[in-house]
């Protein structure tokens, strides 16, 4: 187990380096002048441009730029935004809101995805199985922002059940609808995954052997069908926690939540390359770490992995 953990962490290092390099290269090595990109369509004064170049090390060779960026990132020094705020401070303000939103979305998709998936998988062919399947297909097909608009329109505008938008320092109720929107696609995927896993597992030989032992249907389903089916579901969920942080942007846009996603959106609109890179790097790191945790979890859940 310890060996496996160590190997996974070592494997993570090149991935993190490669990923940050990739993002950095995308922003600063693409054709076109990043400084010009910062200012969008506006003309840039040469003196200002030179100053920015020096500030962001753009006058140095690319690989040095990257290493400096890496060094700064390791010391949590992400530089300043256009308005002169520390990037870290901006992120620090927005981050907790997004974490709250992501965790709520995670709980929502985990609970409803697994519950509906189990119902659907165990009662294959019943009418409610069909209903659950159709709804999950719809949720996957409709873009999140459309789902968001629809829910906002009905739950908020028409029926006044939940707040239409969340202000600063949103509470549980303010974030409930955004979290449902954020978790909706993943919930649908989890339903489908759980259902197909259960279908596959229920036909396994060891399930028949368990029945032959005289175990009741309830126990067989609990200990053999569900226990085994939920391994891939749990790993999917873990990986999704990281992805939810990135996906929060859409939900935050629709419901006007001052989270990390909205900050990223505004940074994109203002053309603040540094801020964009910093935020995306952070999110990618979270994603990678979540994937590492998933691998650990997988090893705990599936004894076969531990000894490989």
């Amino acid at each position: 187990m310890g060996r496996y953990l160590l190997r996974r962490i070592l494997q993570m290092i090149p991935v993190v380096l490669g990923t940050t390099l990739l993002i950095y290269a995308l922003v600063f090595l693409m054709p076109g002048d990043p400084v010009a990109a910062m200012f969008g369509a506006k003309p840039v004064q040469p003196a200002v441009a030179a100053q920015i170049r020096a500030e962001y090390n753009l006058d140095k060779p690319f690989i040095i730029q990257y290493l400096l960026f890496l060094k700064n990132a390791l010391t949590f020094n992400f530089g300043k935004t256009f308005s002169g705020q520390q990037v870290l401070a901006v992120i620090g303000r927005a981050f907790p809101v997004t974490v709250k939103l992501a965790i709520m979305a995670f709980v929502f998709e985990a609970v409803f995805g697994v519950v509906f998936g189990i119902i659907s998988g165990l009662k294959k062919g019943k009418w409610y199985d069909t209903v659950i399947l159709v709804i999950s297909l719809l949720l996957i097909s409709v873009p999140t922002f459309v789902t968001g608009f629809v829910m906002q329109y009905f739950l908020g505008v028409q029926w006044h059940l939940l707040p239409i938008t969340a202000g600063p320092n949103p509470g549980f109720l303010d974030l409930l609808m955004p979290a449902m929107v954020l978790g909706s696609v993943s919930m649908a995927s989890i339903i489908r995954l759980t259902r197909s896993e259960i279908t596959a597992n229920i036909a396994e030989d060891y399930v028949r052997t368990a029945r032959a032992k005289g175990m009741s249907n309830k126990m067989v389903v609990l200990r053999h069908v569900l226990r085994n089916s939920l391994i891939p579901v749990v790993t999917y969920l873990g990986a999704d926690l990281g992805a939810l942080m990135g996906g929060a942007m859409i939900s935050e846009r629709i419901f006007n939540i001052q989270g990390i996603g909205n900050t990223l959106y505004q940074a994109i609109n203002r053309g603040e390359g540094t801020l964009v890179v910093s935020i995306v790097t952070l999110m990618v790191l979270i994603f990678v770490v979540c994937n590492l945790i998933v691998d650990m979890l997988y090893a705990v859940l599936d004894p076969r992995i531990r000894y490989q």
Partner: protein, 668 residues
């Protein structure tokens, strides 16, 4: 009849059959709603303490019948007619809830495939415990079948005094018990105390050995009756769940059971898993055990050990066994009563030897004639009578004696192959210094169990793997010196037929394209002549030309194997390497393919390198045998010599393990 047997027979008749299946009918429903009759009008019965075998090919309905008894028919299967009576009670129409009460405690199952029947995420011990928990088993004492109890009470040497005499030894009480036993032995002046103590240490397994057995062992060793019982009563007080689990596993022949119980299935070999499954099947002391091909996935020597053990175990518990197998020899060897099934129906049933010696239904006759284990048995018994065995060696080619003197077509010298194992420093020697040669026009068989390195040898001979050291010569030329052109030429002359009939043909290729492929690769002929050649080849393997447009998934295993042979024959090779080419086939089909191989050999003067784990098949077709174990060559001799005068213990073990080997088979 001996006394014991007459007592049993009387008991059996008195109790009546434990399982009585009458006119059973099982249907499966296809996607289109059509009913497929998997089992029709089948009847059979099992008496207490009896082994009854159902024999048949795949698709004969033998497993389906067994699963119908357990109420565990797969998919759309359901019982549509007939009755299934367990101890006189109708169980065919029971609900799953009612079945739950029977399964485990009344009917146990030992399933076929040890790899897929244990849940990979639970510890072995936990999976045994589930069986005990599900049936609320009292783990502190033995539960005995009526028959075993009746017999035990008639066993005069030790009288059972009460319920408590069935209590198990607990691991925590064992040291004290052994000390007391030693003291008692010394006190009673028993000689060879250590020997007796060693016997006790082996026998007194916590969670498995009962009080009355301990008392009996002590009495047998020379301790006075009342003293023995006093010790047994004082120290044998019933076991814990952990002890019982370990006890059950150790009864099934799993060494070091207490440690093993904490391991996961993937840490077990196939044989160990099968033992765990036997422990699970017998955990709640069912009156009837259904053993569905319990050893067909295992090596022959392991198979024999496990079946011997299972036999011993069910005998002492008085458990009846419904034994499902495709191997007639195995069935006859293990069961008193045989039921032969064909296409969903019972075609013949009766006492094993009677059925075997005087088969009456044409299908049974065919089966008896084809079973390799029985065939080699016939040769042996014929030899013992000093009869001429040539007529029995139907698969042997006449006139081989002249050929035997001719040159060696393939010679293997000091062949060694090492593999690097992950995370291990030392290299693993898959093949270790093996030498032999194949004489032109003859068959050399390499026999060994899994891990013996026999397939690695085949792949090196086929030039698909490079040897670590050693030399392979074909027609006197060292194959390691071959250039690309030589290799292509070599491939024309040395062709393979592989084991898995489902894997060796590309599912995307039509039969025509599959057989044509070698001709294309070697650029032989034009489109028209190739098409003509494919027809010839199909004819050669006795397949209708109409299969050309079909795809592998439409053919049976045996048919695919014949296509693979046709493909191998396309280039008119001199040597065919058959790597377990018939192992996956049903006996009748196997017989047919072997016959085809022999006809081709006679006709074309082919040489075969025949890789197999099945000595019974070897007897029928090989001229020479190489026995391999753990990568090393154990024995190399002519087939007759190996069978009649095996030199090495391992060869003798292999021979002993041929199912049906112990049968006293009269010639029909």
């Amino acid at each position: 009849m001996t006394d014991n047997q007459s007592i049993i027979a009387a008991q059996q008749i008195k109790q009546g059959p434990i399982l009585e299946v009458k006119d059973l009918q099982v249907d499966f429903t296809t996607d289109t709603g059509k009913a497929v009759h998997a089992v029709r009008n089948s009847s059979f019965s099992v008496y207490p303490g009896q082994w009854v075998a159902i024999v048949g090919e795949s698709g004969s309905g033998k497993s389906t019948s067994a699963m119908a008894v357990l109420g565990l028919l797969p998919g759309t299967g359901h019982v549509v007619g007939g009755s299934i009576k367990l101890e006189g009670q109708e169980i065919a129409g029971l609900s799953q809830k009612e079945y739950d009460k029977l399964r485990g405690s009344k009917i146990g199952l030992v399933p076929q495939d040890p790899m897929s029947n244990l849940n990979p995420v639970w510890r072995i011990g936990t999976q045994v415990k589930e069986a005990l928990d599900a049936n609320n088993m009292d783990v502190s004492k033995e539960k005995r079948s009526k028959l075993a109890a009746a017999l035990a009470s008639e066993d005069s040497s030790v009288a059972l005094k009460g319920e408590d005499d069935e209590l198990f030894v607990a691991s925590k009480d064992l040291p004290a018990l052994l000390d007391a036993a030693k003291a008692a032995l010394e006190k009673n002046g028993v000689k060879r105390v250590e020997e007796e103590m060693n016997y006790f240490r082996d026998e007194w397994v916590p969670g498995s050995e009962t009080r009355w057995r301990v008392a009996k062992d002590l009495i047998d060793a020379g301790v006075k009756d009342d003293e023995a019982w006093a010790i047994a009563k004082k120290y044998v007080l019933g076991s814990t769940m952990e002890d019982r689990i370990a006890g059950l596993l150790s009864e099934a022949g799993l060494p070091d059971a207490a440690t093993r119980a904490r391991q996961f299935p993937h840490e077990f070999s196939g044989g160990m898993r099968q033992r765990a499954l036997i422990a699970i099947g017998l955990a709640c002391r069912p009156d009837l055990l259904i053993a569905d091909e319990p050893t067909s996935a295992l090596d022959v020597t392991v198979q024999k050990k496990i079946l011997d053990h299972l036999h011993m175990l069910t005998d002492s518990l008085g458990t009846s066994v419904l034994f499902i197998t495709h191997d007639l020899g195995l069935a006859a060897e293990r069961a008193q009563h045989i039921v032969v099934m064909y296409k969903g129906q019972v075609v013949e049933s009766g006492p094993s030897l009677e059925v075997l010696q005087h088969p009456q239904h044409p299908y049974t006759k065919r089966l008896v004639a084809a079973a390799p284990s029985l065939a080699s048995q016939r040769i042996i018994s014929a030899k013992e009578r000093g009869e001429n065995t040539d007529a029995l060696l139907e698969h042997k080619v006449a006139g081989e004696n002249e050929l035997a003197k001719s040159e060696h077509i393939i010679t293997v010298e000091h062949l060694t192959k090492e593999f690097k194992l992950p995370r291990k420093k030392e290299m693993f020697k898959a093949v270790d210094d093996v030498s032999f040669s194949v004489k032109r026009g003859t068959t050399l068989a390499i026999v060994g169990e899994s891990g013996s390195g026999k397939s690695t040898v085949a792949n090196m001979v086929l030039h698909l793997l490079t040897p670590t050291s050693g030399k392979i010569t074909y027609e006197g030329r060292d194959t390691s010196t071959f250039k690309a052109k030589d290799i292509l030429d070599f491939r024309r002359h040395v062709q393979p037929v592989f084991q898995n009939p489902y894997g060796s043909l590309d599912p995307m290729y039509s039969i025509f394209r599959s057989i044509e492929e070698p001709l294309r690769i070697h650029g032989i002929g034009d489109k028209k002549s190739r098409s003509k050649r494919v027809r010839e080849l199909l004819d050669m393997v006795e397949m209708p030309v109409s299969v050309m447009g079909r795809y592998p998934n439409e053919l049976s295993g045996g048919q695919r194997q014949r296509i693979a042979i046709a493909r191998a024959m396309a280039l008119e090779p001199d040597v065919i390497v058959c790597d377990e080419a018939v192992s996956a086939l049903d006996v009748l089909v196997q017989d047919q393919v072997l016959r085809l191989l022999n006809d081709l050999q006679a006709e074309k003067g082919l040489s075969y390198l025949f890789i197999t784990h099945d000595l019974a098949v070897v007897r029928q077709i090989a001229d020479e045998v190489v026995v391999m174990q753990h990568g090393r060559l154990v024995e190399h001799a002519t087939t007759d010599e190996v069978f009649d005068h095996p030199q090495k213990q391992y060869t003798r073990d292999l021979l002993d393990a041929i199912p049906g080997g112990k049968l006293q088979l009269g010639l029909d």
